[in-house]
């Protein structure tokens, strides 16, 4: 498969800004998989990935007229996606905190078990356990660590591009990714040694 250069994306995005729907369709086709993947990993839920990706593309369309080709399209796209997921995560955390206040202990336990239900593609038991360990680790990360980790590990982005997408510095991104990777490593180690409690792995 030929990978089209980012300049093509930038050209398409400028066309989208003029209201060209075919250009938007082409951009969507090229990037939908990575946006769904990024959103799903960021919030730790395959079920919410599409909903978030939809919002990201709608925002992308709306902001097309303000797009400046000085930023690479990929950077711009991930900036929109990161900001949206950060806001969504904040809202979700607030909602969850409010619900937790109103929940009985039994309801709380049931909700935790439901959250652990695999929503993603079919996996072997080992794969599901690994995924649960990684998700549990990601839940412990700060929102910015999550964003940097997801862009680096799942999207294969360079630190410089991640820094641009997060409106941060490469040095800060390096620290975020290192801390996140060490946290995930500790969870994976605990899972491998059987030390991880079943709830965390659920």
């Amino acid at each position: 498969m030929t990978t089209l250069p980012d300049t093509d994306d930038a050209r398409l995005m400028i066309a989208v800004g003029r209201g060209d729907k075919r250009a938007f369709s082409a951009l969507f086709d090229r990037h939908q998989a990575s946006v769904v993947r990024f959103c799903g990993r960021f919030v730790g839920s395959a079920a919410r990935a599409e909903e978030l990706a939809q919002d990201v593309f709608v925002k992308l369309y709306k902001s097309a007229s303000r797009y400046s080709p000085t930023a690479t399209f990929k950077t711009f796209l991930y900036r929109v996606a990161t900001n949206h997921c950060l806001n969504e995560l904040r809202r979700f955390d607030e909602r969850r905190a409010q619900e937790a206040k109103e929940m009985t202990q039994e309801q709380h336990d049931a909700a935790l078990e439901h959250e652990g239900t695999s929503e993603g593609p079919d996996l072997s038991l080992e794969g599901r356990e690994l995924e649960a360990a990684v998700n549990a680790a990601m839940e412990q990360l700060s929102a910015r660590e999550r964003a940097a980790f997801a862009m680096c590990r799942f999207e294969g982005m360079a630190y410089r591009d991640i820094a641009a997408a997060m409106e941060s510095t490469e040095s800060a991104v390096k620290s975020l990714i290192h801390r996140a990777t060490v946290t995930v490593m500790k969870h994976v180690e605990a899972w491998q040694s059987g030390a991880m409690p079943s709830r965390s792995l659920a």
Partner: protein, 153 residues
């Protein structure tokens, strides 16, 4: 740079993000430090494992959903249900008035039952006496005669 600092550089080293000079210095430190080597190995294993996780795939419905959403957003602001419902109600009422007014002349002559006609001509009385069960022309006649009787000395 001490060991701790090298540890914090390890991830960037594995990701190929260290500048040449730092990379060389870290490789020298690695060669001399088994603990640093062990950490590097564990980090590499973790990164490799994370890459094996399957990613959520977009469904075919996603594109349709996004395009539908954009079409919805592109409609003018007055084209929204809160605005549209009262507007449609007003329009329907206007159409109804026009139909009734325009159609009045063409309506066929009403064939009205005489009893109904009497009652309708005496609606005030009927409304007043409805509570006591007067509903027919005969009843009205009785009422009128009673009135006459009252007037008669």
């Amino acid at each position: 740079m001490n060991e701790k600092n090298w540890q914090s550089e390890l991830t960037a080293y594995i990701d190929g993000e260290l500048p040449e000079a730092e990379r060389k210095a870290l490789e020298a430190a690695l060669a001399a430090d088994p603990k640093l080597q062990a950490l590097e190995k564990k980090l590499r294993q973790t990164i490799a494992l994370v890459k094996t996780l399957p990613a959520p795939e977009p469904s075919r419905a996603l594109k349709q959903s996004v395009l539908a959403h954009l079409d919805e957003e592109k409609r003018p602001s007055w084209f929204s249900w809160p605005t549209l419902v009262p507007a449609m109600t007003l329009a329907a009422a206007a159409v109804l008035v026009l139909v009734l007014r325009g159609g009045r002349e063409e309506l066929p002559p009403l064939v009205v039952d005489e009893e109904v006609l009497v009652i309708s001509q005496n609606m005030e009385v009927v409304e007043d006496l409805d509570l006591v069960g007067l509903a027919s022309a005969e009843d009205l006649e009785v009422v009128e005669q009673l009135k006459d009787l009252e007037v008669t000395p």
